[in-house]
Symmetry: D2
Subunit: 147 residues, 4 copies
Amino acid sequence: MSTDTEKIGRADYPHFLTIPTRWMDNDIYGHVNNVVYYSYFDTVINAYLIHAGGLDIHAAAIIGVCAESACRYRAPFAFPQNVEAGLRVGHLGRRAVRYEIGLFAPGAPEAAADGHFVHVFVERASMKAVPIPEEIRAALEPLKPAG
Amino acid sequence: MSTDTEKIGRADYPHFLTIPTRWMDNDIYGHVNNVVYYSYFDTVINAYLIHAGGLDIHAAAIIGVCAESACRYRAPFAFPQNVEAGLRVGHLGRRAVRYEIGLFAPGAPEAAADGHFVHVFVERASMKAVPIPEEIRAALEPLKPAG
Amino acid sequence: MSTDTEKIGRADYPHFLTIPTRWMDNDIYGHVNNVVYYSYFDTVINAYLIHAGGLDIHAAAIIGVCAESACRYRAPFAFPQNVEAGLRVGHLGRRAVRYEIGLFAPGAPEAAADGHFVHVFVERASMKAVPIPEEIRAALEPLKPAG
Amino acid sequence: MSTDTEKIGRADYPHFLTIPTRWMDNDIYGHVNNVVYYSYFDTVINAYLIHAGGLDIHAAAIIGVCAESACRYRAPFAFPQNVEAGLRVGHLGRRAVRYEIGLFAPGAPEAAADGHFVHVFVERASMKAVPIPEEIRAALEPLKPAG
């Protein structure tokens, strides 16, 4: 992962989703609460898995569960504002994938926040780890950095 | 307010805001949780007050606080999906306004949910009710149904 | 339902659950956001259905879905604070139940907020309304007002 | 920070707060959503700052803002259940503090999740970093590991 002083730009992310903030995202200090950033993370990730990877969150026998997540907060967001969530795949293993996410204010060249999120794929009934389904793997491949 | 069997259509609402659902809006039953509908309500309302009425939620001396809200749930929403939130003003008093909100699936002629929300305007420091500020009143007038 | 000026006391509710507020319950105005009150409502209701009525939210073939909810806000809550949520049954029909909820500050004789919530019971797979399961009905009976 | 295979026990945390889960904490997969863990983190942290450190979240001129957070998920939580949140201070700098948090199921010897959270203290008006106020520093000192 990038160091604390590294700039994270839009070119680092091949996929973007725009997520509008909501009134209740703001906390008592007038900015989007730190917790809410993670809801932007799992929204951009799961929307991608559903739309590009065919994940059926209602009935799929194999699902992704979060094993680890992290976020660094560099500049605040606030309601009302759009958040542009960039997504890439940092590591694609046999049973797990590490997503890397950058959150950008509209038009801003550098991320206001960036983080990662690890999905381990499990059999829904037993919660045992299993290989990433092929359709999902095929959708994740194009999100890996070139080279 | 309309009765339970009345159909609520898009023409009933002069203002609309599109609000995408988020992953965590879904509850264990696979649909948007009943609580989250109210976050759509206060998002469409406050976004309108800020953009059309000049409300400064960080510094305004007079703010709107919720005195009452209600929702009827007719059909479910789920992630991923857009919610089209319609807004009108049912009653505009001296110190309070009653908003009426309809939530529509994209393209659907009838509301999947509808409800109301009453803002009482108060002096922020004392929480005492005060007249609705003129700039906000002027923004709310056009949301009243035509005579 | 009681009128706006009626006082709602603790004796009106046969069952109570204490719900601590959370940091992010506070909104930019420094009080618990109006939306969050409804999460207290469905927490006291579903905890009761699970503990007293044997509802299995993971596997039950019949579940309760929210058809209507409402809340009147009389006095604010804030983090950190406990909310004491009182629950009673206002109407127990064949397929639906109307809960009435009062939210109290610790030690306060009158509710800071009160509202209602209607559950319609449905077959989970088809979402068709069905009679309230007997075990749940038996648990709800004692929450009806005497007389 | 501890490695992935290290066990995190209760003795690692000098301060605990019990946080009951809520109905809407559960996501479509039937467990507490990954995002919600962070609301447990900032609840145990801010409750401690308020109660032990005298932080006035409504009026304080100096506040803590989150610069970084992370969580590892080892075992699920679900509603209804209590979460016992353990808190310690991993590093106490001049302007920033790193909290480390362990979330335990009642009676469980090992954490179901653990993570960290960095607060940078800033002047509320300017958002410029400033030294940690003395009363807060004094409250944080006892949360540092012995030796």
